[in-house]
């Protein structure tokens, strides 16, 4: 059974208000048996320092990724993970995390690959919960295992692979590069202040527009209002609700954030996240790369 939708006025303006909850709503549903709260962080120790009461931890690296292949877990792995975390298929799964919900959005996107029906984000994430002085605990819940069904991962709707992205770029399709301007131009091979992650070439996928992911967020970690987001992505960038859009970053985590914004807050219907992103593209042999002031090489 799903929990009721948060009726906070700000959320009602979004395309899918049922995909977000406010800290007030979550506070009132801490003991709701239909809700499972999951923390997914960039810093893998943060959950251990204190988390929202009752929240389980889902680690993007060790829980959601296949340990051998560069890919996500499969149907068996996801069913096992959800069962261990006490999530049933009809549960309301609320993700939150550090750093503007980066990894929480990524975890929600992965859950969406398996079609989990009711997955929501906590608007403002860990930062807002803490800034409001709300309760944290170090108690780790021990949920009873559920019988989560085995559901095949569906990579066809919201995930894009390299060859598909290449075809999309050749067809003049819309691409949103959500990295920082320095990474987009090719001046930086990594995020500002982050280590080099091993991309051999800098630049961007030909035709991609640069809209850094954080453009969609307020300083307190919440999402900007529907009107502000419409201005950024629909009016200024010119995306249309019914066109195919591919978002990417370096490994797909920042672009999960933008995927969430475009899909659930603005209601675009055909947005895919290219999780191979620049760590794949910038290392792939002879794929076309664009840099400012230079012709695309090799030509598209």
């Amino acid at each position: 059974m799903s929990a009721p939708v948060d009726t906070a006025p700000k959320l009602q303006a979004y395309a899918h208000p049922d995909r977000l909850v406010t800290t007030d709503w979550l506070s009132a549903h801490l003991d709701d048996p239909s809700v499972v709260i999951a923390e997914s962080d960039e810093d893998v120790l943060l959950y251990e320092t204190g988390h929202i009461p009752g929240a389980v931890k889902i680690d993007w690296h060790t829980d959601l990724n296949d340990p051998v292949a560069r890919d996500y877990i499969d149907a068996d792995g996801f069913a096992r993970l959800m069962s261990e975390k006490g999530v049933s298929r009809d549960a309301t799964l609320v993700f939150y995390g550090d750093n503007f919900n980066w990894w929480a959005a990524y975890a929600l996107w992965v859950a969406s690959l398996f079609g989990h029906p009711d997955a929501r984000l906590l608007d403002g994430g860990r930062q807002k919960w803490i800034e409001e002085g709300r309760e944290l605990t170090r108690d780790v819940p021990k949920p009873g295992a559920t019988q989560y069904p085995r559901v095949e991962r569906d990579d066809s709707h919201i995930r894009a692979f390299r060859d598909q992205v290449l075809a999309h770029a050749r067809a003049g399709g819309r691409l949103v590069d959500v990295r920082s301007p320095g990474e987009y131009s090719g001046e930086l091979l990594h995020m500002p202040d982050y280590p080099q992650e091993g991309a051999l070439r800098g630049g961007h996928i030909p035709g991609a527009a640069n809209v850094p992911w954080k453009t969609a967020a307020n300083d307190d970690g919440t999402f900007k209002s529907r009107d502000e987001l419409s201005e950024i992505y629909l009016e200024n960038l010119g995306l249309d609700a019914d066109e195919e859009v591919v978002a990417y970053c370096r490994i797909g985590e920042r672009s999960s954030h933008t995927w969430f914004v475009l899909t659930h807050l603005l209601g675009l219907e055909h947005v895919r996240n290219y999780d191979g992103s620049w760590v794949e593209w910038g290392n792939a042999v002879s794929v076309p790369i664009e840099r400012p002031g230079l012709p695309v090489r090799p030509p598209l």
């Binding site: 810093d43 120790l45 943060l46 251990e48 320092t49 060790t62 202040d193 280590p195 992650e197």
Partner: protein
């Protein structure tokens, strides 16, 4: 992974981590994060004396002091970055007070011996090597001047 012997306390810490299951490894790393001593007053007021380690995913600063051939280590990392603090805590507990030669002899890949790769992404683990490299660079710079 090199097999060169480590200074005694650092070697004990490596052993302490090596045999633990994943969840307890993270708990232990958090204990080291919490045990990291605060910056002394002189650095809190003179942050220019601290060097930023850019390879860490969070603002992280290190200062190395050399007196009578022995090394004092000071680190500064935000509370909301417990993993980076944990790395600093391991280096502080394992190397503070050691001789400069002993610290310089620690191989930069020693962190592989902590067996944390099943719990922490390789990118993040690189942070601890970067912190050690910054410490060693500072020691060499002071030894020369």
């Amino acid at each position: 992974m090199s097999s060169q012997p480590l200074p005694r306390r650092l070697s004990e810490i490596v052993d302490e981590f090596a045999d633990l299951p994943r969840d307890l490894k993270l708990e232990l790393l958090l204990e080291y994060a919490n045990a990291l001593p605060p910056l002394p007053e002189r650095y809190a007021t003179d942050r220019g004396a601290l060097e930023r380690v850019h390879e860490c995913q969070t603002p992280f600063f290190v200062a190395t002091e050399l007196a009578d051939g022995h090394v004092r280590l000071w680190f500064d990392a935000p509370d909301e970055s417990p993993t980076t603090r944990g790395f600093a805590g391991i280096l502080h507990a394992g190397l503070d007070g050691e001789s400069a030669d002993a610290v310089l002899a620690v191989p930069t890949d020693f962190s592989a011996r902590l067996g944390l790769s099943d719990a922490i992404s390789p990118l993040r683990l690189r942070g601890i090597s970067a912190i050690l490299a910054a410490v060693q660079r500072q020691i060499r710079a002071q030894a020369v001047s």
